[in-house]
Amino acid sequence: MIQMRLEADSVSVHRAGRALVDDVRLQVAAGELVGLIGPNGAGKSTLLSALAGIDRKVSGTISIDGRPLHSIGANERALQMGWVEQSGTIHWPVTVERLVMLGRIPHLPVWCRASDTDRQAVENALSLCDCQALRHQQVTTLSGGERARVLLARALAAEPTLLFADEPISNLDLGHQLQTMQLLRGFSQERRSAIVVMHDLSLAARYCDRLYMMHQGRIVASGSVAEVLSAQNLADVYGVSVISGCESVPWIVPDQLLKQHGKT
Protein backbone atom coordinates (compact mmCIF):
# COMPACT_ATOMS: atom_id res chain seq x y z
CA MET A 1 0.00 0.00 0.00
CA ILE A 2 1.24 3.46 -0.83
CA GLN A 3 1.98 5.62 2.13
CA MET A 4 -0.02 8.86 2.22
CA ARG A 5 1.90 11.94 3.30
CA LEU A 6 -0.93 14.38 3.13
CA GLU A 7 -4.66 13.72 3.27
CA ALA A 8 -7.17 16.52 3.15
CA ASP A 9 -10.91 16.06 3.27
CA SER A 10 -13.77 18.57 2.91
CA VAL A 11 -11.38 21.50 3.33
CA SER A 12 -13.05 24.88 3.00
CA VAL A 13 -11.77 28.39 3.54
CA HIS A 14 -14.23 31.25 3.91
CA ARG A 15 -13.21 34.90 3.85
CA ALA A 16 -15.66 37.76 4.13
CA GLY A 17 -18.60 35.47 3.42
CA ARG A 18 -17.06 34.03 0.27
CA ALA A 19 -15.88 30.46 -0.11
CA LEU A 20 -12.37 30.77 -1.53
CA VAL A 21 -11.82 27.06 -1.16
CA ASP A 22 -14.88 24.87 -1.20
CA ASP A 23 -15.03 21.28 0.02
CA VAL A 24 -11.69 20.13 -1.32
CA ARG A 25 -10.48 16.56 -1.08
CA LEU A 26 -6.83 15.99 -1.88
CA GLN A 27 -4.11 13.44 -1.24
CA VAL A 28 -0.38 13.35 -1.72
CA ALA A 29 1.45 10.04 -1.55
CA ALA A 30 5.06 9.52 -0.59
CA GLY A 31 7.41 10.27 -3.46
CA GLU A 32 4.78 12.12 -5.44
CA LEU A 33 5.06 15.45 -7.22
CA VAL A 34 1.53 16.80 -7.37
CA GLY A 35 0.58 19.81 -9.48
CA LEU A 36 -2.18 22.21 -8.57
CA ILE A 37 -3.44 24.09 -11.61
CA GLY A 38 -6.29 26.40 -12.44
CA PRO A 39 -7.03 29.93 -13.61
CA ASN A 40 -6.34 33.08 -11.58
CA GLY A 41 -8.54 33.37 -8.53
CA ALA A 42 -9.39 29.67 -8.49
CA GLY A 43 -8.20 29.38 -4.88
CA LYS A 44 -4.93 27.55 -5.49
CA SER A 45 -2.79 29.68 -3.21
CA THR A 46 -5.44 29.74 -0.50
CA LEU A 47 -5.72 25.96 -0.62
CA LEU A 48 -1.95 25.57 -0.54
CA SER A 49 -1.50 27.78 2.51
CA ALA A 50 -4.42 26.02 4.21
CA LEU A 51 -2.78 22.65 3.60
CA ALA A 52 0.56 23.96 4.83
CA GLY A 53 -1.07 25.16 8.04
CA ILE A 54 -0.29 28.84 7.47
CA ASP A 55 -3.89 29.94 7.86
CA ARG A 56 -5.85 28.82 10.87
CA LYS A 57 -9.41 29.64 9.85
CA VAL A 58 -9.83 26.48 7.83
CA SER A 59 -12.60 23.91 8.15
CA GLY A 60 -12.30 20.26 7.26
CA THR A 61 -9.63 17.74 8.14
CA ILE A 62 -6.00 17.84 7.11
CA SER A 63 -3.61 15.17 8.24
CA ILE A 64 0.10 14.73 7.72
CA ASP A 65 1.37 11.15 7.89
CA GLY A 66 -1.93 10.19 9.48
CA ARG A 67 -1.72 12.82 12.23
CA PRO A 68 -4.13 15.75 12.34
CA LEU A 69 -2.30 18.92 11.25
CA HIS A 70 -3.43 20.95 14.26
CA SER A 71 -2.03 18.38 16.68
CA ILE A 72 1.50 18.81 15.31
CA GLY A 73 3.56 21.41 17.14
CA ALA A 74 4.65 24.51 15.24
CA ASN A 75 8.33 23.65 15.24
CA GLU A 76 7.86 20.00 14.32
CA ARG A 77 5.61 21.12 11.51
CA ALA A 78 8.29 23.54 10.33
CA LEU A 79 10.84 20.72 10.34
CA GLN A 80 8.59 18.54 8.16
CA MET A 81 6.91 21.04 5.89
CA GLY A 82 8.41 23.76 3.75
CA TRP A 83 6.29 26.49 2.22
CA VAL A 84 7.38 28.82 -0.56
CA GLU A 85 5.22 31.90 -0.74
CA GLN A 86 4.09 33.20 -4.10
CA SER A 87 6.32 36.20 -4.92
CA GLY A 88 7.54 36.20 -1.34
CA THR A 89 8.91 39.40 0.11
CA ILE A 90 12.25 40.00 1.76
CA HIS A 91 12.28 42.96 4.08
CA TRP A 92 15.91 43.67 4.84
CA PRO A 93 18.86 43.87 2.43
CA VAL A 94 20.63 40.79 3.79
CA THR A 95 22.96 38.73 1.63
CA VAL A 96 21.66 35.67 -0.20
CA GLU A 97 23.71 33.33 1.96
CA ARG A 98 22.30 34.73 5.19
CA LEU A 99 18.80 34.64 3.82
CA VAL A 100 19.08 30.98 2.92
CA MET A 101 20.49 30.36 6.39
CA LEU A 102 17.19 31.64 7.79
CA GLY A 103 15.74 28.39 6.49
CA ARG A 104 17.63 26.63 9.27
CA ILE A 105 15.70 28.47 11.97
CA PRO A 106 13.44 25.47 12.78
CA HIS A 107 16.60 23.44 13.45
CA LEU A 108 18.15 26.10 15.66
CA PRO A 109 16.60 26.74 19.04
CA VAL A 110 16.90 30.23 20.54
CA TRP A 111 20.54 31.19 21.26
CA CYS A 112 21.98 28.37 19.13
CA ARG A 113 24.64 29.13 16.56
CA ALA A 114 24.74 27.54 13.15
CA SER A 115 26.69 24.28 13.10
CA ASP A 116 28.51 22.60 10.22
CA THR A 117 25.37 20.58 9.49
CA ASP A 118 23.46 23.82 9.03
CA ARG A 119 26.11 25.28 6.79
CA GLN A 120 26.19 22.09 4.73
CA ALA A 121 22.40 22.22 4.30
CA VAL A 122 22.63 25.83 3.15
CA GLU A 123 25.40 24.91 0.74
CA ASN A 124 23.32 22.09 -0.75
CA ALA A 125 20.28 24.30 -1.11
CA LEU A 126 22.32 27.03 -2.80
CA SER A 127 23.78 24.61 -5.32
CA LEU A 128 20.43 22.87 -5.97
CA CYS A 129 18.85 26.20 -6.87
CA ASP A 130 21.89 27.42 -8.81
CA CYS A 131 22.37 30.33 -6.43
CA GLN A 132 26.05 29.90 -5.52
CA ALA A 133 27.12 32.77 -7.72
CA LEU A 134 24.64 35.04 -5.95
CA ARG A 135 25.78 34.10 -2.47
CA HIS A 136 27.29 37.44 -1.44
CA GLN A 137 24.80 39.60 -3.26
CA GLN A 138 22.24 41.65 -1.32
CA VAL A 139 18.74 40.30 -1.88
CA THR A 140 17.47 43.77 -2.78
CA THR A 141 19.66 43.72 -5.89
CA LEU A 142 18.23 40.44 -7.23
CA SER A 143 15.88 40.17 -10.16
CA GLY A 144 12.44 38.63 -9.67
CA GLY A 145 13.53 35.26 -10.97
CA GLU A 146 16.71 35.20 -8.95
CA ARG A 147 14.73 36.06 -5.86
CA ALA A 148 12.30 33.22 -6.53
CA ARG A 149 15.21 30.78 -6.71
CA VAL A 150 16.75 32.15 -3.53
CA LEU A 151 13.44 31.81 -1.69
CA LEU A 152 13.11 28.22 -2.89
CA ALA A 153 16.64 27.59 -1.65
CA ARG A 154 15.62 29.04 1.72
CA ALA A 155 12.79 26.51 1.97
CA LEU A 156 15.02 23.63 0.86
CA ALA A 157 17.70 24.57 3.39
CA ALA A 158 15.28 23.49 6.11
CA GLU A 159 15.37 20.00 4.57
CA PRO A 160 11.62 19.48 4.65
CA THR A 161 10.02 16.18 3.60
CA LEU A 162 6.86 17.81 2.35
CA LEU A 163 7.22 20.88 0.18
CA PHE A 164 4.47 23.34 -0.72
CA ALA A 165 5.56 25.65 -3.50
CA ASP A 166 3.35 28.43 -4.79
CA GLU A 167 4.25 29.25 -8.39
CA PRO A 168 7.98 28.61 -7.96
CA ILE A 169 8.69 28.88 -11.70
CA SER A 170 6.39 31.69 -12.80
CA ASN A 171 9.12 34.31 -12.87
CA LEU A 172 11.93 32.14 -14.15
CA ASP A 173 13.63 32.00 -17.53
CA LEU A 174 13.30 28.84 -19.62
CA GLY A 175 16.52 27.31 -18.40
CA HIS A 176 15.77 27.87 -14.75
CA GLN A 177 12.19 26.68 -15.22
CA LEU A 178 13.50 23.34 -16.42
CA GLN A 179 16.14 23.26 -13.75
CA THR A 180 13.63 23.99 -10.99
CA MET A 181 11.18 21.39 -12.25
CA GLN A 182 13.97 18.81 -12.39
CA LEU A 183 14.92 19.83 -8.87
CA LEU A 184 11.34 19.32 -7.67
CA ARG A 185 11.18 16.00 -9.53
CA GLY A 186 14.39 14.91 -7.83
CA PHE A 187 13.12 16.14 -4.49
CA SER A 188 9.96 14.03 -4.70
CA GLN A 189 11.54 10.65 -4.08
CA GLU A 190 11.07 7.97 -1.46
CA ARG A 191 9.34 9.63 1.47
CA ARG A 192 9.59 13.19 0.21
CA SER A 193 6.69 14.73 -1.67
CA ALA A 194 5.90 18.11 -3.13
CA ILE A 195 2.76 19.93 -4.13
CA VAL A 196 3.29 22.74 -6.60
CA VAL A 197 1.01 25.47 -7.87
CA MET A 198 1.82 26.25 -11.49
CA HIS A 199 0.52 27.86 -14.63
CA ASP A 200 2.74 26.23 -17.23
CA LEU A 201 0.64 23.24 -18.28
CA SER A 202 3.32 21.77 -20.53
CA LEU A 203 5.81 21.58 -17.70
CA ALA A 204 3.08 20.36 -15.35
CA ALA A 205 2.27 17.59 -17.81
CA ARG A 206 5.90 16.68 -18.17
CA TYR A 207 7.01 16.60 -14.55
CA CYS A 208 4.02 16.03 -12.27
CA ASP A 209 2.80 12.58 -11.25
CA ARG A 210 -0.75 13.75 -10.78
CA LEU A 211 -2.68 16.97 -11.17
CA TYR A 212 -5.52 18.67 -9.37
CA MET A 213 -7.41 21.26 -11.36
CA MET A 214 -9.20 24.00 -9.43
CA HIS A 215 -11.97 26.30 -10.54
CA GLN A 216 -13.92 28.74 -8.38
CA GLY A 217 -12.70 27.19 -5.16
CA ARG A 218 -13.47 23.60 -6.09
CA ILE A 219 -11.42 20.73 -7.41
CA VAL A 220 -13.03 20.09 -10.79
CA ALA A 221 -10.67 17.41 -12.04
CA SER A 222 -8.01 15.23 -10.53
CA GLY A 223 -5.94 12.26 -11.53
CA SER A 224 -3.36 11.49 -14.17
CA VAL A 225 -2.03 14.23 -16.41
CA ALA A 226 -3.96 12.93 -19.43
CA GLU A 227 -7.27 12.78 -17.56
CA VAL A 228 -7.00 16.26 -16.10
CA LEU A 229 -5.66 18.07 -19.13
CA SER A 230 -8.41 16.91 -21.46
CA ALA A 231 -9.59 19.36 -24.10
CA GLN A 232 -13.02 19.43 -22.45
CA ASN A 233 -11.60 20.33 -19.01
CA LEU A 234 -9.41 23.07 -20.43
CA ALA A 235 -12.34 24.52 -22.35
CA ASP A 236 -14.59 24.43 -19.27
CA VAL A 237 -12.09 25.85 -16.81
CA TYR A 238 -9.80 28.13 -18.80
CA GLY A 239 -12.22 28.91 -21.60
CA VAL A 240 -9.67 28.17 -24.30
CA SER A 241 -9.18 25.64 -26.98
CA VAL A 242 -5.67 24.23 -27.08
CA ILE A 243 -3.25 22.62 -29.45
CA SER A 244 -1.31 19.90 -27.79
CA GLY A 245 0.93 17.05 -28.62
CA CYS A 246 3.51 14.71 -27.26
CA GLU A 247 6.58 14.12 -29.38
CA SER A 248 9.57 13.74 -27.10
CA VAL A 249 7.90 15.89 -24.41
CA PRO A 250 4.25 16.84 -23.88
CA TRP A 251 3.27 20.36 -24.91
CA ILE A 252 0.10 22.41 -24.65
CA VAL A 253 -0.37 25.85 -26.14
CA PRO A 254 -3.54 27.94 -26.10
CA ASP A 255 -5.23 28.32 -29.46
CA GLN A 256 -8.51 30.25 -29.34
CA LEU A 257 -10.41 32.08 -26.62
CA LEU A 258 -13.84 30.47 -26.44
CA LYS A 259 -16.70 32.93 -26.64
CA GLN A 260 -18.80 31.91 -23.65
CA HIS A 261 -15.85 32.33 -21.28
CA GLY A 262 -15.31 35.57 -19.44
CA LYS A 263 -19.01 36.30 -19.39
CA THR A 264 -19.63 33.98 -16.47
Binding site: G53, E85, I90, H91, W92, V94, A158
Partner: protein, 316 residues
Amino acid sequence: MVSLCLGQQWISPWQAFSLPFTDPDSVTAVIVREIRLPRTLIAVIAGTSLGLSGAAMQGLLQNPLASPGLVGSASGAALGAVTALYFFSGIWHPQSVPLAGMLGALTATGLVYLLAGRDSSVSTLILAGVAINALAAALLSLLLNLAPSPFAVRELVLWTLGDLADRSLQDLWLMLPCTVAGWLLLAGVGRSLDALTLGERTARSMGINTQLTSWRIFIAVSLCVGAAVATTGMIGFIGLVVPHLLRPLANHQPGRLLPLAALGGALMLLAADIGVRLIALHGALPVPLKVGVLTALVGAPFFLVLILRSRRNYLS
Protein backbone atom coordinates in the same frame (compact mmCIF):
# COMPACT_ATOMS: atom_id res chain seq x y z
CA MET B 1 32.99 57.88 33.27
CA VAL B 2 33.15 61.31 31.73
CA SER B 3 29.54 61.60 32.74
CA LEU B 4 30.44 61.01 36.37
CA CYS B 5 33.13 63.67 36.36
CA LEU B 6 31.55 66.41 34.31
CA GLY B 7 29.32 69.05 35.82
CA GLN B 8 29.33 72.43 37.51
CA GLN B 9 32.39 71.17 39.22
CA TRP B 10 34.92 68.98 37.47
CA ILE B 11 35.75 65.92 39.51
CA SER B 12 38.77 63.94 38.46
CA PRO B 13 38.12 60.34 37.50
CA TRP B 14 40.31 59.11 40.28
CA GLN B 15 38.35 61.10 42.81
CA ALA B 16 35.05 60.01 41.39
CA PHE B 17 35.95 56.40 41.89
CA SER B 18 37.89 56.50 45.12
CA LEU B 19 36.14 59.13 47.19
CA PRO B 20 32.86 57.33 47.75
CA PHE B 21 34.90 54.62 49.44
CA THR B 22 37.54 56.62 51.25
CA ASP B 23 35.50 59.63 52.30
CA PRO B 24 31.82 58.91 51.78
CA ASP B 25 30.64 62.10 53.48
CA SER B 26 32.60 64.66 51.49
CA VAL B 27 30.73 67.02 49.20
CA THR B 28 32.37 65.54 46.14
CA ALA B 29 31.39 62.01 47.08
CA VAL B 30 27.83 63.13 47.65
CA ILE B 31 27.73 64.84 44.27
CA VAL B 32 29.01 61.72 42.57
CA ARG B 33 26.69 59.40 44.43
CA GLU B 34 23.51 61.42 44.60
CA ILE B 35 23.61 63.42 41.37
CA ARG B 36 26.06 62.17 38.80
CA LEU B 37 25.69 58.43 39.39
CA PRO B 38 21.89 58.30 39.08
CA ARG B 39 22.03 60.59 36.08
CA THR B 40 24.58 58.41 34.36
CA LEU B 41 22.88 55.13 35.18
CA ILE B 42 19.49 56.42 34.15
CA ALA B 43 20.95 57.66 30.86
CA VAL B 44 22.47 54.24 30.23
CA ILE B 45 19.31 52.35 31.17
CA ALA B 46 16.89 54.60 29.31
CA GLY B 47 19.19 54.68 26.28
CA THR B 48 19.43 50.90 26.26
CA SER B 49 15.67 50.60 26.47
CA LEU B 50 15.11 53.05 23.64
CA GLY B 51 17.70 51.52 21.33
CA LEU B 52 16.59 47.96 22.03
CA SER B 53 12.91 48.79 21.66
CA GLY B 54 13.50 50.65 18.43
CA ALA B 55 15.37 47.70 16.96
CA ALA B 56 12.66 45.28 18.10
CA MET B 57 9.85 47.41 16.67
CA GLN B 58 11.61 47.87 13.35
CA GLY B 59 12.21 44.15 13.15
CA LEU B 60 8.64 43.31 14.07
CA LEU B 61 7.13 45.69 11.54
CA GLN B 62 9.82 44.96 8.96
CA ASN B 63 10.03 48.69 8.56
CA PRO B 64 13.05 50.89 9.18
CA LEU B 65 10.82 53.84 10.07
CA ALA B 66 9.09 52.20 13.02
CA SER B 67 9.83 53.60 16.44
CA PRO B 68 9.09 52.53 20.00
CA GLY B 69 6.57 55.37 20.26
CA LEU B 70 4.17 53.39 18.07
CA VAL B 71 2.97 51.15 20.87
CA GLY B 72 1.37 54.06 22.69
CA SER B 73 3.10 53.49 25.98
CA ALA B 74 5.45 56.43 25.65
CA SER B 75 2.65 58.93 25.27
CA GLY B 76 0.71 57.10 27.97
CA ALA B 77 3.67 57.50 30.29
CA ALA B 78 3.99 61.17 29.42
CA LEU B 79 0.30 61.71 30.06
CA GLY B 80 0.46 59.92 33.40
CA ALA B 81 3.49 61.85 34.54
CA VAL B 82 2.11 65.19 33.44
CA THR B 83 -1.19 64.42 35.17
CA ALA B 84 0.71 63.78 38.36
CA LEU B 85 2.68 66.99 37.91
CA TYR B 86 -0.52 68.87 37.27
CA PHE B 87 -2.59 67.69 40.17
CA PHE B 88 -0.20 66.58 42.83
CA SER B 89 2.87 68.67 42.21
CA GLY B 90 4.67 69.17 45.48
CA ILE B 91 2.02 67.49 47.57
CA TRP B 92 3.04 63.94 47.08
CA HIS B 93 6.15 61.96 47.34
CA PRO B 94 8.83 63.05 44.83
CA GLN B 95 8.52 59.73 43.03
CA SER B 96 4.83 60.21 42.34
CA VAL B 97 5.58 61.61 38.88
CA PRO B 98 7.51 58.62 37.48
CA LEU B 99 5.14 56.26 39.25
CA ALA B 100 2.15 57.91 37.60
CA GLY B 101 4.07 57.78 34.31
CA MET B 102 4.49 54.06 34.61
CA LEU B 103 0.83 53.64 35.48
CA GLY B 104 0.01 55.69 32.40
CA ALA B 105 2.22 53.48 30.25
CA LEU B 106 0.60 50.30 31.55
CA THR B 107 -2.89 51.74 31.12
CA ALA B 108 -2.09 52.70 27.55
CA THR B 109 -0.78 49.20 26.84
CA GLY B 110 -3.86 47.64 28.41
CA LEU B 111 -6.12 49.82 26.29
CA VAL B 112 -4.26 48.87 23.14
CA TYR B 113 -4.68 45.22 24.10
CA LEU B 114 -8.41 45.70 24.56
CA LEU B 115 -8.73 47.65 21.33
CA ALA B 116 -6.78 45.24 19.19
CA GLY B 117 -8.08 42.02 20.68
CA ARG B 118 -6.26 38.77 21.16
CA ASP B 119 -6.10 37.47 17.61
CA SER B 120 -4.88 40.68 16.07
CA SER B 121 -2.31 40.93 13.33
CA VAL B 122 0.70 43.15 13.69
CA SER B 123 -0.91 45.96 11.74
CA THR B 124 -4.08 45.99 13.88
CA LEU B 125 -1.89 46.19 16.93
CA ILE B 126 -0.05 49.19 15.55
CA LEU B 127 -3.27 50.90 14.52
CA ALA B 128 -4.54 50.51 18.06
CA GLY B 129 -1.25 51.91 19.33
CA VAL B 130 -1.54 54.91 17.04
CA ALA B 131 -5.11 55.51 18.20
CA ILE B 132 -4.06 55.43 21.85
CA ASN B 133 -1.16 57.73 20.99
CA ALA B 134 -3.56 60.23 19.51
CA LEU B 135 -5.86 60.01 22.52
CA ALA B 136 -2.99 60.51 24.96
CA ALA B 137 -1.70 63.46 22.95
CA ALA B 138 -5.17 64.99 22.96
CA LEU B 139 -5.51 64.60 26.72
CA LEU B 140 -2.05 66.04 27.17
CA SER B 141 -3.03 69.11 25.18
CA LEU B 142 -6.19 69.38 27.25
CA LEU B 143 -4.15 69.44 30.45
CA LEU B 144 -1.84 72.09 29.02
CA ASN B 145 -4.81 74.11 27.87
CA LEU B 146 -6.42 74.01 31.27
CA ALA B 147 -3.24 74.71 33.20
CA PRO B 148 -3.84 77.48 35.73
CA SER B 149 -0.75 79.55 35.10
CA PRO B 150 1.93 80.06 32.45
CA PHE B 151 4.44 78.70 34.92
CA ALA B 152 2.51 75.47 35.22
CA VAL B 153 2.41 75.17 31.43
CA ARG B 154 6.11 75.77 31.27
CA GLU B 155 6.80 73.14 33.87
CA LEU B 156 4.58 70.61 32.14
CA VAL B 157 6.00 71.25 28.68
CA LEU B 158 9.56 71.20 29.93
CA TRP B 159 8.92 67.88 31.59
CA THR B 160 7.73 66.31 28.37
CA LEU B 161 10.86 67.48 26.56
CA GLY B 162 12.94 64.86 28.25
CA ASP B 163 15.63 65.51 30.78
CA LEU B 164 18.07 63.58 32.90
CA ALA B 165 18.96 66.29 35.39
CA ASP B 166 17.99 66.03 39.06
CA ARG B 167 17.09 62.39 39.01
CA SER B 168 17.73 60.42 42.16
CA LEU B 169 18.66 56.84 42.89
CA GLN B 170 15.05 56.34 44.00
CA ASP B 171 13.95 57.14 40.45
CA LEU B 172 16.42 54.57 39.25
CA TRP B 173 15.08 51.85 41.54
CA LEU B 174 11.58 52.70 40.44
CA MET B 175 12.30 52.31 36.74
CA LEU B 176 14.41 49.20 37.11
CA PRO B 177 11.81 46.41 37.58
CA CYS B 178 9.72 47.30 34.53
CA THR B 179 12.83 47.95 32.47
CA VAL B 180 14.49 44.66 33.32
CA ALA B 181 11.25 42.77 32.70
CA GLY B 182 11.06 44.41 29.26
CA TRP B 183 14.69 43.61 28.48
CA LEU B 184 14.25 39.98 29.47
CA LEU B 185 11.19 39.66 27.25
CA LEU B 186 13.12 41.13 24.35
CA ALA B 187 16.18 38.99 24.92
CA GLY B 188 14.86 35.91 23.14
CA VAL B 189 12.99 37.41 20.20
CA GLY B 190 15.96 37.69 17.83
CA ARG B 191 15.21 34.39 16.12
CA SER B 192 11.58 35.30 15.49
CA LEU B 193 12.61 38.71 14.17
CA ASP B 194 15.07 37.06 11.80
CA ALA B 195 12.30 34.81 10.51
CA LEU B 196 10.07 37.85 10.04
CA THR B 197 12.54 39.07 7.43
CA LEU B 198 10.58 36.77 5.12
CA GLY B 199 7.22 38.22 6.07
CA GLU B 200 4.61 37.17 8.59
CA ARG B 201 3.23 34.19 6.72
CA THR B 202 6.53 32.60 5.82
CA ALA B 203 7.70 33.15 9.40
CA ARG B 204 4.64 31.22 10.53
CA SER B 205 5.52 28.40 8.13
CA MET B 206 8.90 28.30 9.85
CA GLY B 207 7.30 27.49 13.17
CA ILE B 208 7.30 31.02 14.55
CA ASN B 209 4.23 32.06 16.50
CA THR B 210 3.97 35.54 15.06
CA GLN B 211 1.06 36.56 17.26
CA LEU B 212 2.90 35.61 20.40
CA THR B 213 5.99 37.38 19.12
CA SER B 214 4.17 40.59 18.39
CA TRP B 215 2.49 40.62 21.81
CA ARG B 216 5.72 39.82 23.50
CA ILE B 217 7.54 42.66 21.79
CA PHE B 218 4.61 44.96 22.30
CA ILE B 219 4.47 44.35 26.04
CA ALA B 220 8.23 44.43 26.43
CA VAL B 221 8.53 47.74 24.59
CA SER B 222 5.67 49.15 26.62
CA LEU B 223 7.34 48.16 29.84
CA CYS B 224 10.83 49.44 29.20
CA VAL B 225 9.96 52.50 27.13
CA GLY B 226 7.16 53.35 29.54
CA ALA B 227 9.60 53.19 32.43
CA ALA B 228 12.16 55.26 30.54
CA VAL B 229 9.69 57.96 29.55
CA ALA B 230 8.13 58.06 33.01
CA THR B 231 11.56 58.77 34.46
CA THR B 232 13.09 61.05 31.86
CA GLY B 233 10.28 62.44 29.73
CA MET B 234 10.12 62.05 25.98
CA ILE B 235 13.52 61.51 24.43
CA GLY B 236 12.97 61.19 20.75
CA PHE B 237 14.93 59.80 17.83
CA ILE B 238 17.19 57.46 19.75
CA GLY B 239 14.80 54.57 19.18
CA LEU B 240 14.59 55.51 15.52
CA VAL B 241 18.11 56.55 14.58
CA VAL B 242 20.27 54.15 16.58
CA PRO B 243 18.91 50.91 15.08
CA HIS B 244 18.94 52.47 11.66
CA LEU B 245 22.53 53.57 12.05
CA LEU B 246 23.79 50.25 13.37
CA ARG B 247 21.84 47.99 11.02
CA PRO B 248 24.68 47.59 8.47
CA LEU B 249 26.98 46.48 11.31
CA ALA B 250 24.51 43.69 12.07
CA ASN B 251 24.46 42.69 8.39
CA HIS B 252 20.85 43.86 8.34
CA GLN B 253 19.82 40.93 10.51
CA PRO B 254 17.18 42.07 13.01
CA GLY B 255 18.22 39.52 15.63
CA ARG B 256 21.85 40.60 15.65
CA LEU B 257 20.82 44.22 15.72
CA LEU B 258 19.14 43.90 19.13
CA PRO B 259 22.27 43.85 21.35
CA LEU B 260 24.05 46.38 19.13
CA ALA B 261 21.14 48.79 19.26
CA ALA B 262 20.91 48.40 23.03
CA LEU B 263 24.54 49.34 23.42
CA GLY B 264 24.31 52.09 20.84
CA GLY B 265 21.24 53.59 22.49
CA ALA B 266 22.97 53.71 25.86
CA LEU B 267 26.07 55.34 24.40
CA MET B 268 24.11 57.84 22.36
CA LEU B 269 21.92 59.01 25.22
CA LEU B 270 24.92 59.24 27.51
CA ALA B 271 26.79 61.25 24.88
CA ALA B 272 23.79 63.50 24.38
CA ASP B 273 23.55 64.08 28.13
CA ILE B 274 27.24 64.93 28.32
CA GLY B 275 26.72 67.24 25.39
CA VAL B 276 23.90 69.01 27.19
CA ARG B 277 26.09 69.51 30.23
CA LEU B 278 28.97 70.80 28.14
CA ILE B 279 26.68 73.35 26.54
CA ALA B 280 25.41 74.36 29.96
CA LEU B 281 29.00 74.72 31.25
CA HIS B 282 29.88 76.90 28.31
CA GLY B 283 27.09 79.22 29.26
CA ALA B 284 26.14 79.70 25.64
CA LEU B 285 22.46 79.43 26.40
CA PRO B 286 20.54 81.25 29.12
CA VAL B 287 18.78 78.11 30.34
CA PRO B 288 20.02 74.53 30.40
CA LEU B 289 19.13 72.61 27.27
CA LYS B 290 16.97 69.52 27.70
CA VAL B 291 18.55 66.32 26.49
CA GLY B 292 15.42 65.38 24.53
CA VAL B 293 15.76 68.61 22.58
CA LEU B 294 19.37 67.87 21.75
CA THR B 295 18.65 64.31 20.55
CA ALA B 296 15.83 65.62 18.38
CA LEU B 297 17.97 68.46 17.00
CA VAL B 298 20.83 66.15 16.15
CA GLY B 299 18.70 63.17 15.30
CA ALA B 300 16.30 64.67 12.80
CA PRO B 301 18.77 65.98 10.20
CA PHE B 302 20.93 62.95 10.73
CA PHE B 303 17.97 60.74 10.04
CA LEU B 304 17.17 62.66 6.89
CA VAL B 305 20.67 62.05 5.60
CA LEU B 306 20.39 58.37 6.43
CA ILE B 307 17.13 58.08 4.56
CA LEU B 308 18.52 59.81 1.53
CA ARG B 309 21.57 57.58 1.54
CA SER B 310 19.72 54.31 1.98
CA ARG B 311 16.81 55.25 -0.21
CA ARG B 312 17.76 52.85 -2.97
CA ASN B 313 17.93 49.98 -0.48
CA TYR B 314 14.43 50.36 0.84
CA LEU B 315 12.37 52.31 -1.60
CA SER B 316 13.34 50.93 -4.94
